[in-house]
């Protein structure tokens, strides 16, 4: 199938990008996503409201001309907080998805490809990781690694010092905790990806084209990288996009446990959790952050689908009512 480039494209990467952007829905999704990210980066600076400025007397106000998304029960502008929250949520989602891919794909591929004893052992490790009590582990991470002024924190400060403009000494601690949270989440999320990859590889391993490649004398690595994994891209991308909303909400759970985002910063997950408390009284507290999250997830889904199609030259060129109609070249 996609093992060898079907058409002799001069630059496969550019070709994929071209295919990706040739679809209207993908273009729209990319645009919306870009706008969302841009808004998250700029809105807090452009808005007349500070994200941490309370107005207790006013309390929670519905959307108005002054506050487009309304205000929360401490009187803070929801629009600024929502887009500010987007920064952390997008970062969490990206990092967790990348960590899942980086650990889960090779792990699952090796387990699925070799099967037998190696697979059994690797499966057991995965089961242990997934059985570990989340809460206990998270608290332990917090206690052993998140100490202010601890070794890890100092190392972190030293690393980011050149990148922080005003040499913030105390100010980098919340950031440090967020980074630790990324790691904690990644540690728990990769087995999901590994399982999907393992299942795919096991299924593809016996297919004709893999056997053909093997007969042609291809090495294990080549078979895995050039023949098996490219054909598993669909489920891998799907799983990666599915991780995103999960990771965004898990961030909120961690934050309530004291590991993660610290007030007065925020995130989609924290805002949604708060909004859910009074959804019939103050719907705007739920609706706007949830809408942003759903929009982001949907765009990522559409892009993920398009990317999958673009990587699979057989079906990529045009959405056809009968799938697989474009495979004549094989």
């Amino acid at each position: 199938m996609a093992g060898e480039p079907a058409r002799a494209a001069p630059n496969p990467r550019r070709e994929v990008l071209r295919r990706l952007l040739s679809r209207g829905s993908a273009r729209a999704a990319a645009l919306v996503l870009a706008l969302l990210v841009l808004a998250c980066l700029l809105a807090p600076a452009l808005s007349p409201w500070r994200y941490d400025q309370t107005d207790l007397a006013a309390g929670a106000l519905p959307p108005s001309r002054a506050h487009w998304f309304g205000t929360d029960d401490l009187g803070r502008d929801l629009l600024v907080r929502a887009f500010l929250g987007g920064r952390i949520s997008f970062a969490v989602a990206t990092v967790v998805a990348i960590l899942s891919l980086a650990i889960g794909v090779p792990y699952g591929a090796i387990a699925g490809y070799w099967s037998g004893r190696i697979d059994a052992a690797m499966m057991r490790v995965m089961q242990v990781v997934q059985a570990l009590p989340f809460l206990v582990t998270v608290i332990l991470i917090e206690v052993f690694f998140a100490r202010k002024g601890g070794i890890l924190h100092r190392a972190f400060s030293a690393i980011i010092a050149p990148f922080v403009a005003d040499g913030a000494d105390a100010g980098d601690y919340p950031l440090f905790r967020v980074v630790l949270m990324f790691v904690a989440l990644g540690a728990f999320w990769w087995p999901g990806m590994a399982r999907v990859v393992r299942g795919q590889v096991m299924e593809l391993r016996g297919r004709l084209f893999v056997e053909a490649a093997r007969a042609a004398g291809a090495g294990h690595a080549a078979i895995l990288l050039r023949h098996v994994l490219p054909n598993a891209m669909g489920p891998i991308l799907a799983q990666a996009t599915l991780i995103i909303p999960e990771a965004m909400m898990a961030e909120a759970t961690l934050s309530f446990l004291g590991l993660g985002t610290e007030e007065p910063l925020s995130s989609f997950g924290l805002l949604i959790a708060r909004g859910a408390d009074a959804m019939d009284l103050r719907p705007w507290l739920l609706v706007f952050p949830a809408l942003l999250l759903v929009l982001a997830v949907h765009c990522i889904n559409v892009l993920g689908d398009a990317l999958r199609d673009a990587l699979d030259p057989g079906t990529g060129s045009a959405p056809a009512p009968r799938p697989a109609s474009g495979r004549e070249e094989r």
Partner: protein, 306 residues
Amino acid sequence: MIRLLLKKLLESVLLLLVVATLVFVLVRLLPGGPFDRERAVPPAVDAALRAKYRLDAPILGQYRDWMVDLVVHGNLGPTFKYPNRTVNEIIAVSLPVSLQIGSLALALALAVGLPLGVLGAVWRGRPANAVLMAAVTLGVSIPRLVLGPLLVLVFALGLGLFPVARWETWRHAILPALCAALPVGAHIARLARTGMLDVLGADFIRTARAKGLSERQAVLRHALPVALAPVVSFLGPAASGLLVGSVVVERIFDLPGMGRYFVDAAANRDYNLVTGVVLVYASILVVLDALADVARTLLDRRTELR
């Protein structure tokens, strides 16, 4: 065959012992003890409590006693938070509730997720697909802590179709099962759809079509079993999670299930209870993974019959 089964069983038991040992150590590393309260208890009281539950013994001795109790008597020990209850007793009353809700939720998730996934692939490029994909996006993005209150608001308080909470009749099970099932169902739909898309273009399906099978037959008989591979991979942990219960669902619908102990027990430093619920989860996970491997072999056989 029997030797293989025995070997698998032995491996699983070993795995559970490893998990039990790890958790035994991890919970004891947590700061704060099970008898800490807002009011600091005098050292003498704390010492008496620790002596009562044999927490004052050297750690290796504690481990040995606990392991012997577990392996020989199947006894997970007392809980520290609920005086006069044992972990076995708590699991015995709470697990059945979670299993009932969980299996209903699992059935719902599969019943919704699989058809939607297959249709999504078959309808690829049609407007119906776009609607479907949007629904799936909503399903995976709306967390249970929003979905639960929403279901209560609409179906219980608004339409009066179901009770708002509690665990009494079968009608009490519907909303919690829905709340637990929808995110999983959406996840299944998404995975089934990509799996299906991949397969529909594969050689053996084209062969099947060429042999004159109808599209319907080609999809259901030949493509579906293979397309389910990613769903099967995902299902092990997802189904285990459903079967032991979800804290969020149990809170919202006030169910006396087991899910809440995953949070409570850790927060209370109720060492034996943490180990107990983790072992239940791990056991279910191991069994389901074994089943998934069997299912995969069966599905594979059917593929080979192409």
